[in-house]
Amino acid sequence: MAAAAAGSGAPREEEAPGGEAAATQAQAPASASGARLSRLPLARVKALVKADPDVTLAGQEAIFILARAAELFVETIAKDAYCCAQQGKRKTLQRRDLDNAIEAVDEFAFLEGTLD
């Protein structure tokens, strides 16, 4: 799935050339990148959902999709942060790369101020 593999937010054009290949290789064993079932434990996701006082009940499918969405989110933010590290010619992702990605990408605005 190009959409899943792309990972970058709207303002970003460049992509690590090796990144896409490695990503598709890693996903090859699964039927399709989007259809792979979640690796995150549903119980923990459920605990997060229940932490919201406004939520009464959540169906099993909803929990599953949230888990899968969280996975996609982790992949996306990791790739975006990596673009920053690449610009610094580093091979290790640092905390500041993450902060830069959060500032640069509109979709990550909700994270501002929450990671400290």
Binding site: A23, A35, R44, L48, G59, A62, F64, L66, L72, L93
Partner: protein
């Protein structure tokens, strides 16, 4: 000390694996960056839940369902997640259906096998029940007398 919702973390090992598979080979991630991403993922789930809940409430439902979550993704400007999530949902539904059918089949097979066993067993239980009932009736009579 109350635990804040953002402190409910997803397992480090799984988060690390997801990150590593998303990045090219040979790229590492510092502990601080990894735990920040983990925390971000928790915040993401909380935010998505809240958004999804708004859709559920608009639909006058008390239970969050899959379409609420998908609507939340669009609202949060993660439209690109919607297609892979729909695919994942279909695969999940197929798997659940398969599991359900498999367990129903197992139950049918089990019932067939134990049917004859159960007939013998229930006969024994009936005998025991009758004994117990007789004892209780005797006790009641004694109490009434007193």
């Amino acid at each position: 000390m109350a635990e804040r919702p953002e402190d409910l973390n997803l397992p480090n090992a799984v988060i690390t694996r997801i990150i590593k598979e998303a990045l090219p080979d040979g790229v590492n991630i510092s502990k601080e960056a990894r735990s920040a991403i983990s925390r971000a993922a928790s915040v993401f789930v909380l935010y998505a839940t809240s958004c999804a809940n708004n859709f559920a409430m608009k639909g006058k439902r008390k239970t969050l369902n899959a379409s609420d979550v998908l609507s939340a993704m669009e609202e949060m400007e993660f439209q690109r997640f919607v297609t892979p999530l729909k695919e994942a949902l279909e695969a999940y539904r197929r798997e659940q259906k398969g599991k359900k059918e498999a367990s129903e089949q197992k139950k049918k097979d089990k019932d067939k096998k134990t049917d004859s066993e159960e007939q013998d067993k229930s006969r024994e239980e009936d005998d025991e029940d009758e004994e117990r009932l007789e004892e209780e009736e005797q006790n009641e009579e004694e109490e009434v007398d007193n």
